[in-house]
């Protein structure tokens, strides 16, 4: 498909055009924090920010979502479906790692039985990705075979010397492109070369990153018990506070809880993100099956690095975005786990 380009100064026009027909979500700074927020003319767009604080999964798998409602009238109860309406939307400026996270989530929510809440959001959303240019030491997407310079999605974008290059990859992307192509110019071979050059430069930077060569040796279905029974979990999990910051900033964590909210005249049933680090995760009448923080901690990483790949053709449930590395209150993270149990420490 054809590549387009547009000068960075004209981006607001592009945003405005896209926002005419649907909601447009971009990395926007609000209260000193950059997140995917709906765009408006006054928004402070931060395409330069490497990563949003929360991942982009919020748009497809929101932190809370209404499922149904039970209405009480006297002694009668009636059930009402009241899922939040989903309108078409555009998600602009997603990094390669976050784009990959949608694949991970798809494996979970689109497999049988299909999660129709997630599905309708996926169908209504167009993902416009954005290549990285200044990755940080916490980035390790390369370990999972992700190319930060060549992000997937419905449309890929590159920012090179004040020009945004725009390349539709899917039909959905092409359809959106047609609604805005009037604002853009078609890119030529020279432009193609510029993009390729920027990709090369990025690859050179990537190679210098300390976690570029993060070795995942040993994390596969074949070593499940060995990893599970490793004595190292005790030390690794020792300082874990049992908070959910890693889980909630993670683009691939997909656990949720279903809860009822009794508002006095009825009950709203909704689902919300849950964290396997929480003391009340999978709480049942008798208690929780994983009583200690060690077990909870181990579950999270075993799931991401062992169980998930062994059930999903080797696809890890981690995309190397590095958010948990910066957000963990005690700086314990998946990289430390991988290093402790994998690579040269494997076996």
């Amino acid at each position: 498909m054809m590549m387009y380009k547009i000068n960075v100064d004209r981006l607001p026009e592009l945003y405005a055009k896209m926002a005419e027909s649907r909601a447009l979500y971009l990395p926007i700074e609000k209260n000193d924090q950059v997140e995917f927020h709906p765009w408006n003319a006054d928004a402070c767009v931060r395409l330069d920010k490497l990563n949003t604080a929360k991942s982009a999964k919020d748009l497809f798998f929101p932190q809370t979502e209404n499922l149904m409602k039970f209405k009480m009238q006297g002694k009668n109860i009636s059930i009402e479906e009241n899922r939040d309406p989903v309108e078409p939307f555009v998600l602009f400026g997603v990094r390669a790692c976050d784009v990959r996270s949608f694949d991970v989530l798809d494996k979970v929510f689109l497999a049988d039985p299909v999660d129709t809440f997630y599905q309708s959001r996926r169908e209504n959303g167009v993902v416009i990705s954005m290549a990285c240019h200044e990755p940080e030491e916490t980035c390790f997407c390369h370990a999972f075979g992700i190319d930060a310079a060549d992000p997937a999605g419905d449309i890929s974008c590159w920012m090179v010397e004040g020009t945004l290059y725009w390349k539709p990859l899917t039909e959905k992307g092409q359809a959106l492109t047609e609604t805005v192509s009037a604002l853009m110019e078609q890119a030529g071979d020279q432009d193609q070369a510029k993009v390729e050059e920027s990709q090369k430069a990025l690859h050179a930077v990537m190679e210098k990153l300390p976690l570029y060569d993060l070795d995942l040796t040993g994390f596969d279905g074949d070593h499940l018990l060995e990893k599970f029974n490793s004595e190292k979990w005790a030390k690794l999990s020792e300082a874990c506070l049992g908070c959910g910051s890693c889980t909630f900033v993670c683009p691939t964590c997909q656990c949720y809880d279903i809860r009822d909210y009794d508002n006095g005249h009825g009950v709203q049933r909704y689902r919300c993100w849950d964290s396997c680090m929480y003391s009340d995760f999978t709480m049942m009448a008798h208690g929780t099956p994983r009583k200690t923080q060690l077990e909870k901690f181990r579950q999270r990483f075993m799931h991401k690095l062992v169980y998930f790949p062994s059930n999903n053709d080797g696809m890890y449930s981690c995309v190397g975005c590095g958010r948990c590395l910066t957000k963990c209150p005690i700086s314990m993270n998946i990289v430390k786990v991988i290093k402790a149990l994998g690579g040269e420490n494997h076996a």
Binding site: Y261, N263, G264, H265, Q268
Partner: protein, 149 residues
């Protein structure tokens, strides 16, 4: 007066009053037996002592749509349990100050010391408070939208 009353009739505020069993609840009883009226907006919840009022209850009331919350107890020094109201006084002072700090209208919360003999004070306090809440209007800042009908 009359004009205002017309317009105000449409809005019926909800006021939750936590009254300690020994003084203020009895004060409310005395207001009742003395036929001292106050608006039906005020609904009383009996607690053994003002110190039984957990900040959670105050927030819960606002969450569920209360427009004002008043806590009434024995006069300082007259607590049936000697010191309960002193603790309540500190707790509520800090809570109210915090709500104010969060930008919640400070007139929505009140603590009043009303003895069992002060039926008149009970009724005037409730009338005054109801009037204040009327003037303030609906509590919009501290409610849970999920509780709307």
């Amino acid at each position: 007066m009359s004009l205002n009353e017309e317009t105000k009739k449409e809005y019926k505020p909800l006021i939750v009053a936590f009254c300690c069993n020994w003084c203020s609840y009895a004060g409310a009883d005395l207001a009742g037996s003395s036929r001292l009226t106050y608006p039906t907006d005020v609904k009383i919840i009996r607690v053994p002592c003002s110190c039984r009022v957990n900040p959670l209850f105050v927030l819960r009331a606002f969450q569920r749509g209360a427009d004002g919350v008043i806590i009434a107890g024995c006069h300082p020094g007259d607590c049936h349990y000697t010191s309960g109201n002193y603790f309540a006084r500190r707790r509520m002072t800090l809570l109210f100050s915090m709500l104010d700090y969060l930008g919640i209208e400070r007139e929505r919360t009140r603590v009043e010391w009303i003895s069992a003999a002060e039926g008149v004070k009970f009724s005037t306090t409730m009338n005054e408070f109801a009037k204040t809440i009327h003037e303030l209007g609906e509590n919009k800042k501290l409610r849970d939208l999920r509780c709307e009908e």
